[in-house]
Amino acid sequence: MFDSLGLLPFLPFLGFLILFLSGGGLPRRIVAVVGAGSIGLAFLQALLLALPVIENDSLVSQQVIYSWMSVGEFESKFGLYLDGLSSVMILVITGVGFLIHLYSTGFMRDDPSYSRFFAIMNLFVSSMLVLVLADNLLLLYLGWEGVGLCSYLLIGFWYSNPSNGYAARKAFVTTRVGDTSMAIGLLLLFTQLGSLNIEELMNGAETQWGLGSGYAVAASLLLLGGAVGKSAQLPLQTWLPDAMAGPTPISALIHAATMVTAGVYLIARTHTLFELAPDVQLLVAFIGLATLLMAGFTAMTQRDIKRILAYSTISQIGYMFLGLGVGAWSASVFHLMTHAFFKALLFLAAGTVILSLHHEHDIFKMGGKRKQLPIAFASFMIGSLALAAFPFTSGYFSKDEILLAALAIEGPGLWLWIGGVVGAFFTGIYSFRLVFVVFFGESADHHDDKEVTGFTMAFPLMVLMVFALLGGFIHPPTDFVFSVEEAHSEHSVSTLIHAIMIAVPLAGIGVSYLFYGARLWSADRLLEYSLAKKLHGYWFSGWGFDALYRGLFIKPLLGLADLNRRDFIDSIVATIVAVSEAGNGLLVRFQSGSLRWYVLSVVGGVAILLTLGGLL
């Protein structure tokens, strides 16, 4: 029974069902047990399923549960598929997901909608598992949209504040744009290749479409649209920072374990297609590069602790895209995994900070908290080190692999590498800016805040700290999936390159220290220059994308909606009505009720007839 793939997404779904159908009537303790327990069980089962695959990465297990829909030649099965790639994913999703759930049982303990929270979280995990296990793109799309829905429900979890609702809708609609592109991609793939099964599609694409064929370009572009939306890459990245409106564990779940990695997973899953369209693949790399730089700049200017982390996520996913774009599939998945560890750590630690400081988000109102919040401090230190790719932390290995792979490709490779290294520099700056401002210096407020903690909240942090530090030594079993002889290009790289890649993040940390740790330099003084100020404003608003989209899409759409609120087609109908009513009004006036007028009309009529008779 436990080797059934179908059970894996079903366990969280069962949790969801129990919590949903009970309608909030269960005691909190049971809700916590059901909510976190279902994910815990799922994690155990995922381990059971994934261990054989880790031992032998050519192992593939498949299970068709039933035929979902079949019409004529179109058939989509509810079929699940487990290989090295999905093994990594299910472990990350259920493992990190379980820790987040465990943490949430403590974090959310005072919330009135405790049960609703866990119900949606479970559904979220369940959808994500369907997404990564699906053997066909339609089922993948089911999970894909399920994830989107749950993110909407969770971001808008505190629904009574309209701005949360706005953020939630923004997230859903923005990703829906990408989803629609992906749906069209599905239509194209089925129409051309006659199947939506991923294996068949990839084989079909390889055999039927040549390298660089138009179909491959179109299909991969459309799928890329979907991936860009879910993974918050340019140009659809704007929803992610606003998605911070939800409770912090949700941010952790969205950023680390689930949603945003879906795009990376999709591209990795359909990598054959992207290899057939090298231009599109290069585009992926450049999107990743542009996003990581953009987000890096923006992260340096933010004040909200969660927004900083959000931009860092965008930036790190940018690295993954960069890796995908240069064909370093394994490296990207590796980075996805390590990122899941340290980003979950950072978010959960941020949650502790926020909860301990009574929902304070502004980092400049914190300061000197390392004594008060020791666990959070340790978590932040380790998480930030990993994020900044400090040597031998988990982030170091994965980022290294991606950058080396970028360097290895001909042509634009060097530029991609330079961009990535510059991004790493910024990562160093902004991650430690956060650490220095929050935990060092003087205490900015007079509160003597106690760290909110407890086993359920501390334990996940501990575990994640270990993985964030040492996760780099885990090797994801994806070599067989990508079957490329990419891997070890290290021997061809000079030590200089290595030195640069180690030195740059350290330099970033150092700069950050000078600004915010030692306060030898001051960012405020920098801002006195008008150029710097302008740039700061620009970066602070996320490069003005929100304003751009508001002007480009939202306003015209709303304007259009307002312009024609009453449906001009109806006014055509209304015109017919008005004309006949006017005619009626005119004729009614003739029928005045005056007898003399009637006689006059009769005589007039006869006179006209006579005259006409005379004339003709």
Partner: protein, 102 residues
């Protein structure tokens, strides 16, 4: 006997008809309207008699008799209505009766 031009007789009938019509169209007093109607009926009768005389037949006169009975009953009913109208509206202005409106 002398010859009377038919044209002259019909012209008389037409003139009388036109006068009656003019009266019906212009007068607002309903009694005058009824009188004008009588003139018109008469002119029609005259035309019948003329036509009968033209063919030397009695049929025209018989038609006149029909018109006569018609006129008699019309006047009887019409005058009854005038009295009712006067009772109800205290006026003989025909324009007051304008309920026949669309």
């Amino acid at each position: 006997m002398n010859e009377i031009p038919l044209e002259a007789g019909l012209l008389l009938a037409t003139i009388l008809f036109a006068i009656g019509l003019l009266g019906v169209m212009t007068r607002r007093n309903i009694v005058f309207v009824l009188m004008s109607l009588e003139i018109m009926l008469n002119s029609a009768g005259l035309a019948f008699v003329l036509a009968g005389a033209r063919w030397g037949s009695a049929d025209g006169q018989i038609m006149f008799l029909m018109i006569l009975t018609l006129a008699a009953s019309e006047v009887a009913v019409g005058l009854g209505l005038i009295i009712q109208m006067y009772k109800k509206f205290k006026t003989v202005d025909i324009d007051v009766l304008s309920a026949l409106k669309g």
